[in-house]
Symmetry: C2
Subunit: 392 residues, 2 copies
C-alpha cells in the first residue's frame, strides 16, 4: 500500500522548507510523531516517527499499520531502534535533534532524548508551527475543497430548523448535513480545547464565558464539554450563531453566520452590520507585511465608535483577538491580537471573526476565511452574510 | 457560579484516594491541568490547575472561565503565581510534587517544574490512571446513564438503514440519533487515537489495519482520520459492525453489535456465536483478584479451537487484547491481554470485545461493558446480541 499522500513535489516543498529552517537553527535532524505534524510531512497519520535530516531524504519509522511501502520506510517496534538503524545505513547521527517539545509528553520527550544519547535536543514544535503558517499549493487546494462543502452545508442550515427545537437539536441536524456533505468530524486544536464539531449559540447562553481561548463561550451540554450549545430553546426574537467546523478535508475552513428566530430588535441588526463592516475593512487591510496588531486595533476602534466595546467578543469575558490562522488545527498562528506582534505573509490562511454578544438576544457577527496573496486577501468562504430568519 | 460538580462526598473520596496514594509514593502534593484529570478531581473542565497537598484541602487556580466561586479558588494569570500564593497562605511548599508527566507537554512540564524551583518532581499521570481504574459510586452512576442512552440509540440502529447507503451515510444517521439521545460527541482516548464518534465496519474495509491500538481497523474516510468507515456501500451478504461511543456522560460505555444486509454465509453466524460464547465465558470468569491474562488466554484458546485464530481481532493485523478498562477515556487500564499482567479489582469497568474479521463479509462479534463487583461481573450494556438483519 502506497505510503506518502499528496503530490510528490508539494511534499518535497514542505520537507525543503523544514530543512532550510533546521539549518538556520543549527539543527541536524528532526523527529516527529504527533498526528498533525505526521500528516503535514507525509500526508498520512500513522503510529510511528518521521525523521528528516537537515540534508538528504527523510526516513519513515513505522509501528502501525502493517502493509505500507515506501523508499526509506522501516517497520520498528520501539523508538530505541531508530538510532541503530540510522547508524547501520551509514548516516551520521545528528548533533542537534529537534523534538516536538510543545506537543509530546514529558515522558515521551525524555524517552526519545535518551534514545539519541549523544544528541542535544531542540524544539521542533515552534519551528513547525511557524512553517505551517504559510500553506503550499496542495494545502491551499484542500482549503478550497473544505470551503466549498462548508458553503454547501451552510446553505442547508435553514432547512435544519423546526419551531420548538433546542440549540442542541438544531446542531444535531446541522451535524448530519455536515457529515453527509463529507465532514470528517474531527476538530483539531493546538492545546486544550474540548469542542465538538463547532458551536451553535443562542439567547443568554452566548454570554457564558469559555474555559478555552475560543472566540465565544456558551455553557455547553455538560461540564465535561463546557462550550457551545447547552439545550437552550430557539426562541422568537433570539439570534442563532452558527460556527460549525469546515472540516471536510484535514485543512479546516472557519466560517460563522448569524440566523434569527423571527425578527430581532433593531440593535441586533446594527451590531451585525458593524461586525460586517469590521470584517470588510480588515479584509481590505490584510496584505503581506501588515502587522497582526493593526486589524485588532481597527476592530477595537470601530467597536468603540459604534458604542459596542462592552459587547465585542463577549460580555462577561471578552476574547482578546479578532482573527487567527487556520490549518490542520483551528487555532494556528498568527493571531490578530494586541500581542504577540508578527507580520502577515503570503500563503497564510486567516479567519476574521468580529462578533458581538447582546444580552437577552444572543451573538451576532460574522466570520470568513481569507487566503493571503501578494495582492491582499482573497475570501474563500461564502454564504449569505446578512442575518437570515429561520422562520421564513 | 458553583465550581465543584458532583456529590461532595464522592469528590472527597477521590481526593482521599489520591492523597493516600501520594503518601505511599512519598509525594507531598500534586498539580493537575489536563481535561480528564481536572474533570476527575473537580467535576469540571477549566483553564487552570488543581493543587492537592498530601494532607489538607485542595486549591483551585483558575485562568478561565471567569465568575466561578469556591473555597480555595483563586484566579491566576500564569502558573508561576501558584508557588507564591501557597506560601502567602502559610502552606509549606512540597518537597516532592507530582506532575502529569505522561500527558502534559515537555515544555509545560519544564515550565511547571521551574515554577516550583525547590521541588523534586514525580509522575502524577501513572498514579491517577491507576486510581481512576476503580470507579466511585457517582462515577458508576454516570456509566449507568450512558449505558441506558447507549441502549436506546442501538435500538434505533435498524431504523437508520436505507438500501443503497454507504457505511458513512449509515453512520451519519446513527450519529444523529446519538446526539438526539444526549451524546456529548466527544471521544476521549489516552495517547494518539484519532477517531470520530466510533466505528462502523462493513465488507472488505474490516480488514484494513489500524494505525492505533484499537480493536479493529477500517481505512477511514480520509488519511487524516485513518480508522473506521470509508464509504463502502452496505452490500447484500455483508456484515455491518456498529461500535459507536457510549458518550452520553463524560464516562463512556463501550458496546458493539453486529448487523447484516440480508443473510450472511453460515460461517459468519458460527463466528458470531463463538464471539458471544467467548464474551459469556469471560463474563463468568471476571472477578476481583483474577489476572488480566486469563481472559485473553481463554479467548485465544476458544478462537483456536473454533478454527478462527487467524480471524480473531483482525486478519492482516491483529489486536493483541480482548478487553480493556473504560472511563473518562475509552482505553483505560487494565487491558485484558498477554501483558502487562495485573489483577482485577472491584469497581473496575471493563469492556469485553471478542471480534472476528471474515474476508469478503466483514467483522462479526460483540462487545459489552461490565462492572466488577465483589460477586463477579455485572453487565451494564444491553442490546439484542444476535446478528440483526437490517433489511427486515
Amino acid at each position: 500500500m502506497k505510503f506518502l499522500n499528496g503530490p510528490a513535489d508539494d511534499l518535497r516543498l514542505r520537507w525543503e522548507r523544514l530543512q532550510a529552517a533546521m539549518r538556520t537553527e543549527g539543527a541536524e535532524a528532526c523527529l516527529v510523531s504527533t498526528s498533525v505534524n505526521l500528516y503535514y510531512l507525509t500526508g498520512r497519520i500513522y503510529g510511528g516517527y518521521f525523521y528528516l535530516p537537515a540534508a538528504g531524504r527523510p526516513r519513515f519509522f513505522i509501528k502501525r499499520p502493517q502493509g505500507l511501502e515506501e523508499e526509506g520506510l522501516t517497520y520498528i517496534r520501539k523508538p530505541e531502534e531508530i538510532n541503530g538503524l540510522l547508524a547501520a545505513e551509514g548516516l551520521p547521527l545528528p548533533k542537534k535533534l529537534l523534538l516536538e517539545a510543545d506537543e509530546i509528553s514529558y515522558t515521551d520527550y525524555c524517552r526519545l532524548s535518551a534514545a539519541f544519547p549523544s544528541c542535544e535536543s531542540g524544539n521542533a514544535s515552534t519551528l513547525l508551527r511557524r512553517l505551517r503558517m504559510c500553506k503550499t499549493p496542495w494545502e491551499i487546494e484542500q482549503f478550497r475543497i473544505s470551503a466549498r462543502q462548508h458553503a454547501k452545508t451552510y446553505a442547508e442550515v435553514p432547512a435544519c430548523f423546526r419551531p420548538g427545537m433546542s440549540d442542541l437539536q438544531f446542531q444535531a441536524e446541522i451535524e448530519r448535513r455536515m457529515r453527509l456533505n463529507g465532514s470528517l468530524g474531527t476538530f483539531r486544536a493546538y492545546g486544550p480545547m474540548d469542542i465538538f464539531m463547532g458551536s451553535v449559540l443562542t439567547g443568554g447562553n452566548a454570554e457564558a464565558p469559555s474555559p478555552f481561548d475560543f472566540a465565544l463561550g456558551g455553557a455547553g451540554a455538560d461540564l465535561s464539554l463546557p462550550i457551545g450549545a447547552n439545550g437552550t430553546p430557539l426562541r422568537e426574537g433570539c439570534s442563532v450563531m452558527v460556527d460549525m467546523a469546515g472540516n471536510y478535508t484535514a485543512y479546516m475552513t472557519d466560517m460563522t453566520r448569524t440566523f434569527s428566530v423571527g425578527k430581532l430588535p433593531e440593535a441586533a441588526y446594527r451590531a451585525h452590520e458593524l461586525a460586517r463592516r469590521i470584517e470588510r475593512e480588515i479584509a481590505q487591510m490584510l496584505r503581506p507585511g501588515l502587522s497582526t496588531v493593526e486589524p485588532y486595533r481597527l476592530a477595537l476602534r470601530l467597536a468603540e465608535e459604534g458604542g459596542l466595546a462592552a459587547n465585542f467578543m463577549g460580555t462577561r469575558q471578552q476574547a482578546k483577538f479578532v482573527g487567527h490562522g487556520i490549518g490542520l488545527q483551528i487555532n494556528e498562528p498568527p493571531v490578530l491580537a494586541a500581542r504577540p506582534e508578527s507580520l502577515l505573509e503570503a500563503g497564510m490562511l486567516i479567519a476574521v471573526e468580529p462578533k458581538f454578544v447582546l444580552p437577552g438576544i444572543g451573538a451576532v457577527g460574522i466570520e470568513d476565511s481569507f487566503l493571503l496573496t501578494s495582492d491582499g486577501a482573497e475570501q474563500i468562504t461564502f454564504s449569505e452574510p446578512s442575518i437570515v430568519d429561520l422562520t421564513k
